[in-house]
């Protein structure tokens, strides 16, 4: 079982020391903003999803796992990222299910995600929506970076 618990900062430190992908909550007056980085697009999407669950303080149940495949189309990679995260929010709200394992493939502006997860047993915070505010996936030092602002 994967518990998405604890401070986002801790995870950040851990991933800065150990791997080339991660996420960090950054300051925003009214809403939540998440900085995400990874070596490639699929991993960037996975980090964004994990960061979003962490912001909501989501804990998944132990025991039986659920599989799900998503297929999405977007205007570009940024709009696919918003669509993907919005889809996870929707499944969380309507079915009470969250995911912690992802296999993502991207082809042009199509995304296919094979996901594994479990029922949400605890969620402390609510995200209203994933915004496009200044959303841009950029390459820097051989990594992809983006900052996502959530409406809460």
């Amino acid at each position: 079982m994967v518990r998405l618990e604890g401070e986002v900062k801790d995870y950040y430190n851990e991933s800065m020391n150990g791997s080339r992908s991660g996420f960090e909550e950054i300051e925003h007056t009214a809403d939540w903003a998440l900085s995400v980085w990874a070596p490639d697009l699929p991993q960037l999407f996975v980090q964004a999803a994990q960061g979003m669950y962490r912001l909501m303080d989501v804990v998944l149940a132990e025991g039986e796992r659920q599989q799900r495949t998503l297929e999405l189309e977007g205007f570009d990679h940024e709009s696919l990222l918003v669509a993907f995260l919005s889809e996870l929010l929707y499944i969380g709200e309507s079915e009470g299910v969250g995911f912690d394992r992802f296999e993502i493939t991207l082809e042009e502006n199509r995304l296919r995600a094979q996901m594994e997860g479990a029922p949400i047993v605890r969620q402390k915070k609510e995200i209203k929506a994933v915004t496009f505010h200044n959303l841009q996936i950029q390459e820097r030092d051989g990594l992809l970076w983006t900052t996502i602002v959530f409406d809460v």
Partner: protein, 482 residues
């Protein structure tokens, strides 16, 4: 980042962003604030966000309120007025929580009489009015009933015995926007909407029991039925997952549409289409449906709150009636006529964290408020004062008939939750005689009063600028949060 030098001072309470600030800027950006509050706003990206909005096509003007803070796209506390003839409509400049708003109910119940029962009242409100993360506890609507809610707004609640005729008269637009289109709503939004009517939600939404602490305008207070020392009830919430999904759908689909129309976007969240386009028309119909859903939502919660008052106070207080003073929306676009450069112009006024503040005699006000102007409701941060104001003729001339909507954040949520402990905050509020019911201690901490501006200073700014006038100050005695 903008600095004080980028502003031209018009008065102690009004500033204009200098033309040099952004080369792409096409319309004036006016800021209503004291120097102190303006300096506060320079600490985040509020001004840049307002300037970005002024660069959209067909903008007649951007107005910023003293409770402004950084948001996404248009800042919270921003008013974006676009020309209907050649301007745009922008879903992100209204916000995800379409028709998030506030209503105030008054009573004749004196605080001293009710004080021994307030704890029971807080529990009853908390039990009857579903709140918190997730969707549960709302009414279960069929698809057909949901379509009726979209078309009829608070009138739907009236038809089902959850509103009075006077309630409807005291809601902006009578609780129902014309031109709502249930057909423009996605299946997904409908699915979310079917189970969430009559729920408060989480975040900064709340139900608060208050006492009329001080009256500044006896005549206006009397017209609103506000009595010094009497209890009031405020409800702050919006269109729940239904509205969030409507906005999400259109911000996504407009990304391609904006390119089709050749619109340059300084920020993708400002995505927009021509007001006069098939896409613009579809969004307007969907937004109005979500706004009607929110009017119905606050009305259903009012019905539940009235039941809670009966439950807690029956046999103790004879007259427990709660009359609706007013219900205003602070996330919406409205089609209004204003004077721009001496010319009457039909505008699409986007208000995001800003309220309508129409002056005396304005069209659409109920007869009892025609002489005093439209009530403007300004909730403070948790545990602090809230204000009742009225709109003015000056607001019609200077701020597209708009005023502020709250205290406005100054501290980020991440900082607030690291520097304030929910349990401690609850204890402090209770020591001040405020009964607290909260679904999440972490959520409570993010809404700590120190994360917000001082609402009294915000009120001084709007009343100093004469875009609203003080009527009464309310202090909280019970707070229910999701």
């Amino acid at each position: 980042m903008a600095s004080l030098h980028d502003f031209v001072k018009i008065s102690d309470y009004e500033w204009e962003l200098a033309a040099h600030f952004r080369p792409g800027e096409r319309a004036p950006v006016r800021f209503f604030a004291t120097r102190e509050l303006l300096e506060d706003a320079l600490n985040d990206l509020s001004i840049e966000q307002a300037a970005n909005a002024a660069a959209l096509p067909g903008v007649a003007g951007v107005v910023v309120m003293p409770d402004v803070h950084q948001g996404y796209g248009l800042p919270i506390g921003g008013v974006l007025a676009t020309r209907v003839s050649d301007g745009v409509i922008s879903p992100g400049s209204i916000g995800y929580d379409i028709n998030c708003g506030v209503r105030l109910l008054g009573s004749t119940i004196q605080y001293e009489e009710a004080e021994p029962y307030l704890d029971h009242l807080a529990t009853a409100l908390n039990q009857r009015c579903p709140s918190g993360v997730g969707a549960s506890g709302g009414l279960k609507l069929s698809n057909e009933e949901l379509d009726q809610v979209c078309r009829e707004g608070a009138r739907w609640a009236y038809k089902h015995g959850m509103a009075t005729e006077q309630d409807l008269r005291h809601i902006e637009e009578g609780g129902r926007l014309e031109g709502a289109s249930a057909e423009a709503i996605s299946a997904r939004a409908k699915e979310r909407g079917r189970t969430q009517l009559g729920t408060l939600g989480a975040g900064n939404h709340f139900i608060e029991v208050q006492v009329v602490d001080q009256i500044f305008d006896a005549n206006a207070a009397q017209a609103m039925g506000l009595i010094e020392g009497a209890l009031c009830l405020s409800i702050h919430c919006g269109s729940r997952g239904f509205g969030h999904q409507v906005c999400t759908d259109f911000v996504q689909s407009f990304q391609a549409a904006a390119r089709k129309y050749g619109i340059h976007l300084p920020d993708r969240e400002l995505v927009c289409v021509p007001f006069d386009s098939p896409e613009g028309e579809t969004y307007l119909g969907a937004m109005r449906a979500a706004a009607n859903y929110a009017f119905a939502n606050r009305q259903v919660l009012t019905h539940l709150a009235r039941q809670a008052f009966d439950e807690a106070l029956a046999g103790k207080i004879k007259n427990r009636h709660l009359h609706l003073v007013y219900d205003i929306t602070h996330n919406i676009a409205k089609i209004e006529t204003h004077r721009v450069n001496g010319q009457e112009m039909k505008l699409c006024v986007h208000r995001k964290g800003a309220t309508r503040a129409f002056g005396p005699g304005a069209p659409g006000l109920p007869a009892e408020y025609s002489a005093i102007g439209q009530p403007v409701l300004v909730p403070g941060s948790m545990g602090t004062a809230s204000w009742v104001l009225v709109g003015t003729p000056e607001a019609m001339q200077r701020s597209f008939g708009s005023s502020c909507h709250g205290a406005g954040r100054v501290m980020s949520r991440s900082k607030a939750k690291h520097s304030v402990r929910g349990e401690e905050l609850k204890r402090e509020l209770e020591q001040d005689g405020i009964h607290v019911r909260a679904g999440s201690m972490a959520g409570l901490a993010e809404e700590a009063p120190e994360a917000y501006k001082n609402v009294d200073l915000v009120i001084e700014a709007v009343s100093g600028a004469k875009i609203a006038r003080k009527v009464a100050r309310l202090r909280p005695v019970a707070v229910i949060k999701g």
